[in-house]
């Protein structure tokens, strides 16, 4: 008897939580979509970005310009993708699809920030290091202490001496030199959600965002809704994301440049309040 009471109680709690989630879910039909191109960055780590002989745009960065400010044009990227795929910037092998669009929507209520990503993950990857997961999607939210965080997005965590970079220590994860990022990752195997952080090292747990992710593969694409604690009204939060497609691991992901989320404030992506 007591066992069935427990079962009923558990079912009741789950139903209550489910109902709450259903109520809290944003009406996505009222949230504008923005298509953001993610691309294979090769070995263009932060050190490459700030080295003038590699990247003449360092002068722009010094003036406060963001990556998006120079490189997102007419809804696309104005990089030379052939150069990106060439041996110098991708010594191993480039994926067949160097960039693809991800549709991004962002909404909030008093308790949570919701981000929905919709995309078709391309096949033809060059690295299939993650045997377990066909696809992973990762969000990073930078704090105000990250130098140039609002300009460079995830690049502040990406360094030439981190794992999967040529000649790097395979145990060294991404890291920041100053400041911190909140990290939320969804992995396709078992819909695993990691709530972690990036500081002096990347941790896949111990985060404080209360992250949940709903959705998964539907048809030939993925729709993922990330829910996390609202960082606070009136805040502009540095934000970037990455898709590991076709079993990719480490740096063999497709990444977005750094955008800002405006939560009741200015930002590249204005969060719709619901």
């Amino acid at each position: 008897m007591s066992k069935s009471i427990v079962q009923i109680a558990v079912a009741g709690v789950l139903l209550a939580l489910g109902t709450q989630a259903a109520i809290a879910a944003p009406d996505w039909s009222k949230v504008p979509k923005r298509d953001i191109q993610v691309f294979h960055p090769g070995v263009t780590a932060m050190e490459w970005i700030v080295k003038k002989s590699d990247h003449s745009g360092t002068a722009g960065l010094r003036k406060g310009e963001s990556c998006v400010g120079c490189h997102e044009e007419k809804g696309n990227l104005n990089f030379n993708m052939k150069r990106m795929a060439d041996k110098e910037l991708e010594p191993k092998a480039a994926p067949k699809t160097m960039n693809f669009p991800v549709s991004v929507q962002a909404a909030s209520d008093a308790a949570n920030l919701y981000i929905r990503l919709s995309f078709k993950a391309p096949a033809g990857g060059a690295d299939k290091g993650d045997k377990d997961n066909e696809v992973k999607a990762t969000l990073l939210f930078g704090d105000a202490k990250v130098p140039q965080g609002a300009q460079v997005g995830c690049w502040a965590t990406c360094h030439t001496d981190a794992r999967t970079m040529p000649g790097a220590d395979e145990k060294k994860t991404k890291y920041t030199k100053e400041g911190a990022y909140e990290l939320i990752q969804w992995a396709s195997k078992g819909n695993k959600v990691s709530d972690g952080s990036v500081t002096t090292e990347r941790k896949m747990s111990g985060g404080s965002t209360g992250a949940k992710v709903e959705g998964g593969k539907s048809g030939d694409g993925y729709t993922l809704t990330f829910t996390r604690k609202n960082p606070g009204e009136g805040k502009t939060v540095p934000f970037g994301f990455a898709i590991h497609a076709d079993h990719a691991s480490g740096r063999f992901h497709h990444v977005s440049m750094g955008y800002t989320l405006g939560i009741g404030a200015d930002g590249d992506i204005k969060v719709t309040k619901q």
Partner: protein, 196 residues
Amino acid sequence: MADNEKSGLLAMLRRPSAKYSLLSLLVVGFFSGIFFWGGFNTAMEATNTLEFCIGCHEMRDNVYVEYKKTIHYANRTGVRAVCSDCHVPKDWTHKMIRKIQASKELWGKMTGIIDTPEKFAAHRLQMAESEWARMKGNDSRECRNCHSFDAMDVEKQKLRGSKMHKIGVAEKKTCIDCHKGIAHTKPKGMKEDEEE
């Protein structure tokens, strides 16, 4: 009278002509001048052609191959900048100075200083730095034979070029400050410019 009796080449050149009129001498001198001056400049221009530059395998097998992949070799408008357009001044005085400086390359050719791909790679940084210093020193004069900020409509450029050129104008930059390695492979180990 005593001078007239002296013999030798110098004396002959100094002796007034008794046989030819002044007009004849002027006419012959004038046309000879045109002939020799024209010949000199024709020979000079011959050393400015792409064919001359890639006559040596050192250029043909290295920098020429790299340059052929760039916009200065082939582009939508069909305008080509050859080696001398970027590496030899257009005006006569600076061109002569550059040609005289370049004559030491003959010694390099004879001694085979860059006659293998390995030797070329080993000297690439030194050669590039020398040329970058020349371009920086003359405010990218050879670039400016075709390009100028005055004639540039930055609003018609791609976003990144437009933004960078606005910074370039504001900071009084010269072309080569940013456009290193646009026609040839960048050398390994190049030094970073000091930030201003």
